[in-house]
Symmetry: C2
Subunit: 113 residues, 2 copies
């Protein structure tokens, strides 16, 4: 495992990995304390409710998502953001196919091999 | 100053701030260890060379940027990413109007009032 990414990460240089039914992800820049991940969802795909020790800040790059955080649901569209504190349960339902930019601190070690 | 953002940050709820000629930014999700910022550039706008103690991972949401990191330049397009280690000099020149998603760890205190 590398402890950090390259400085420049053209999209074609980053492998896509399956991340559940209708979901795939591409790890872009990272080091031990920060990680940026592009996650593509097909319509109806689910990011199941879960929680982790990482802070998470996400950006809706395209599509429409029903985002649930700590039991509260909101529908977010391209240009919107959300934040999940460490240990807070969250998940998404993709209402219209699209892309989330998920960022974490510290690194999601489980996303890097 | 708040120590963290709200969980849901619809685009219309986040103020735009000037960030240099042809550049404006919108702070989306953050806490003390993570911050996600949307930065809009008009064509020809510059993010001058600078450095900071934060790790930075960025995503090109739209447009085309000449990105310089540690003296090396590459042209990045929508879908590409870049990573800047703490203390490494970097900057961008916007070749085609667009948006960067800049993320930092820890928080950019200078971006929150």
């Amino acid at each position: 495992m590398k402890t950090k990414s390259r400085n420049f990460i053209p999209a074609e240089a980053a492998p896509w990995e399956p991340a559940g039914a209708g979901v795939s992800r591409q790890v872009l820049g990272y080091d031990g304390q920060l990680m940026l991940v592009k996650v593509q969802f097909s319509q109806g795909a689910i990011g199941p409710l879960h929680e982790h020790i990482h802070s998470q800040a996400s950006y809706v790059a395209s599509g429409t998502f029903e985002v649930q955080i700590n039991g509260e649901k909101q529908t977010l569209n391209a240009g919107d953001g959300f934040y999940v504190a460490p240990g807070v349960q969250h998940g998404v339902l993709c209402l219209e196919a699209g892309v989330l930019i998920d960022t974490f601190s510290p690194i999601r070690l489980d996303f890097v091999r």
